[in-house]
Symmetry: C2
Subunit: 463 residues, 2 copies
């Protein structure tokens, strides 16, 4: 008798049909009749649940009838193909053993729970269909990303989480400290004496690994980061979390076109990988979470992404036969309604908007010859909006220093960053993908709290 | 003419031999003679440097003669096989273009630099042989780990970095806060009012994702974490960093034997993956960093790991024909000299020491029937000592609660953890691998500061 997991049965039924197998799992439902019953068992290895039929010939039949939802069991039995039923097989039990009991007050019952409730029992919600599917897809997307870059010989770089610099200025930061609030050390002048802090200076949680990744791209050519990043923004929206993961590739001897090629390839790779490895989960999302999500992501994987300069995008918006809430003029940052108009109505495909006005973009983006725009790109996708933001980096020392002076970025703190332009600097580019945004896009789940195992948001750091 | 990277030439010379190619890279050395010269060029895609021969027929011959170390160049030329030379080919230049200049004060010159010096220019050190090799191997080991688990259908879980609990008590923690040291809010009683902090409570950086990973194992069966962890310990040793990465698999319906099988398989998978994907880097470590490291890791990949109960280990040590500095008796924690004696002298192979006295292990480890030991394991490897620590987890609610009471672990804070024993709890197990320790083991590099891109240690959070 072979010990197996449920995934093996679904993926290789021929091998196990009419064999006796042993498996473990948790009871999702128990429909006990007078002389027989059905246990629906899920073992976590596979999205689908299997049906175990038990009959009164079992020694412990009366006990099995009372096995409660949430209990853990070991089942030994015969795999019986059921080609005409919804499930391709069932298990005819010869033995069902209780491994772990579950009381009646178990919060995860076979009924519809609200997502708000399930967030409160985040330690139990992976036991539901929705969250088992979300978190397996999350894992698959992570591996797809690693595989995409590693197959192309990229080097994965762990940029630091604790950082002594807040130079990128991408938002409010969390402070990291070992100082005691009850006994704050002071300098003679009365300032907080960070010399006595763990790192002998004030430190924060990173908001981006890009600048450090650039140092590696200028040595190893093609690199990427994949790690947690943080924003101490007091935003209680569906799309913001204080802790989230980012992917930031950086490529040397490369320009904005190469950057977009890389981003487009990545999005398509991720989608195809998930379609191949999680068809059951994707069917579930399509049916119960976001109707049409399957067609939507398939269409994206098959489409050529449009590349559209910002200036042309503005012209299209100005000529649109549509009234926008946010007025359109050259120089504005595009708002969601503008982005959605471009992707959903005009192009019906993902769109890279490129070459934004320099004043609405970061200091490190390469100034174009027009002196007004920078070699930036945002990838907008239908139904969601911005998925990726990237740019070619300013590799010319003088122009970069001038931009930093204009915007007030402290050059002394970033002297090491300027070194990359002093010592064999070359054109290079990169982008950032918010990992959770990609998961939300692929699954159709609309709240970031529902795609993170234990979300961190204002006033919430449970578990 | 094809644009290529150096890796393609080395891996597929036949395809490019006697072809004209274009490539980019950085000058590692320039040996200019009167009527010709040699540029040693590295493009980051491959460990080895290529030799570019240039002659006075080049239009800019006199300029090329002066190209300095560190400069970035584009080279167009003929790939000429050199079967009798050390390098299998060279490039006969038809054109060499300067892409990025490099001044004479460039810190990375073609000479031996101390590792201490290179730490100070951590943004430039990936441009050296040693660090290019270390960081590529680091990346490969990361991908090997993901591949090992994903191929076995494990779910990768991002456990939280910011945590509201310090329950595991694995060491001193960093505080994460948005409170202002200059204006600390107070409660009426005068205590620090963490209700006004970002998360409305005191929060820290995680020391381990294990407890959260257990919640996922009890839903999805086989899971793993791979993320940064933190210790605010003021240890300035070669083996300690304040920020490091950990891998923590957790498997349900599994015992300590399954756990050791998983760990042994992982270590072998990692070694074989690196041997296959980085033979040049491994040869370099073997020759210049740690003589014999190649044989050592190969032997480990080919060996059966010994499994030895702690009590037997103590007997072996007591009977050893050797004087230890730290006296041996049942109940002690093994020190490095004991571990090295077992691995290097007695077994000459990796050894799992199992079933340690409960008093020297964590509260969550499963109590054995002898009531004195717990189902723990440490993997000791020759030349290094402890690489992995793991255990079967205590799944019995009453015994776990009793242990928590004995040790003083607050049960209220970990009520969610106890839920895993209340609701369908089953035997499960897991382990932790310090990622940097694995890199040090495989590369032979002895200081953790030299295997982390930008290390964080006491008084040091540069870049």
């Amino acid at each position: 008798m072979e010990k197996i997991v449920v995934r093996q049965l679904f993926r290789n039924l021929d091998r196990y049909a009419n064999q006796i197998v042993e498996l473990n799992g948790w009871v999702r439902n128990n429909r006990a009749q007078k002389s027989f019953g059905f246990l629906m068992v899920n073992d976590g290895s596979f999205f689908e649940t299997i049906q175990v039929v038990y009959e009164e010939n079992l020694e412990n039949f009366k006990e099995v009838q009372k096995f409660r939802v949430g209990s853990a069991v070991t089942v030994r039995g015969l795999v019986v193909p059921t080609p005409d039923a919804k499930q391709p097989f069932e298990i005819k039990a010869q033995e069902v053993i209780l491994e772990g009991d579950c009381p009646e007050d178990y919060p995860i019952q076979p009924k519809r729970h609200t997502r708000e409730f399930l967030r409160e029992v985040a330690h139990l919600r992976p036991r539901t269909n929705l969250f088992a599917a979300v978190f397996r897809v999350r894992s698959l997307v992570a591996h797809a990303i690693h595989s995409y870059f590693q197959e192309q010989n990229f080097v994965y770089v762990h940029t630091p989480i604790i950082t002594g610099s807040d130079a990128e200025g991408a938002g409010e930061m969390f402070q990291v400290t070992t100082l005691d609030f009850n006994n704050v050390p002071r300098t003679e002048e009365g300032a907080v004496d960070f010399k006595q802090d763990f790192f002998a200076k004030s430190t924060n949680l990173t908001v981006s690994g890009q600048l450090e990744a650039e140092t590696f791209a200028l040595a190893l050519r093609d690199v990427y980061t994949f790690g947690p990043t943080f924003r101490a923004e007091n935003s209680n929206t569906q799309r913001h979390a204080a802790e989230f993961w980012m992917i930031e590739p950086e490529i040397a001897f490369a320009d904005l076109q190469d950057d977009m090629d890389l981003a487009e390839g990545m999005v398509k790779y991720i989608i195809n990988y998930v379609l191949e490895h999680a068809p059951e989960e994707m069917a579930f999302f399509d049916q119960f979470v976001s109707k049409g999500v399957l067609e939507r992501v398939k269409a994206v994987a098959a489409s050529d992404f449009k590349r559209l300069p910002y200036t042309e995008a503005i012209e299209i918006l100005l000529q649109a036969d549509k009234k926008f809430e946010n007025p359109v003029s050259w120089g504005i940052d595009l708002s969601t309604e503008h982005e959605r108009y471009l992707t959903d109505e005009v192009f019906k495909a993902p769109v890279f908007v490129t070459d934004y006005p320099k004043d609405i973009k970061a200091f490190y983006m390469r100034l174009n010859d027009d002196q007004k725009t920078v070699a930036a790109m945002d990838l907008l996708v239908p139904g969601v909006g911005e998925l990726i933001g990237g740019s070619q980096r300013e590799e010319r020392l003088e122009i970069l220093e001038q931009r930093m002076d204009e915007i007030g970025v402290p050059k002394e703190e970033l002297d090491w960053y300027l070194d990359l332009r002093r010592y064999g600097g070359v054109k290079h580019a990169g982008f950032g993908l918010g990992f959770e945004r990609m998961i939300m896009y692929i699954t159709g789940v609309e709240n970031i709290r529902d795609v993170v195992p234990f979300p961190r948001t204002p006033k919430n750091a449970e578990f």
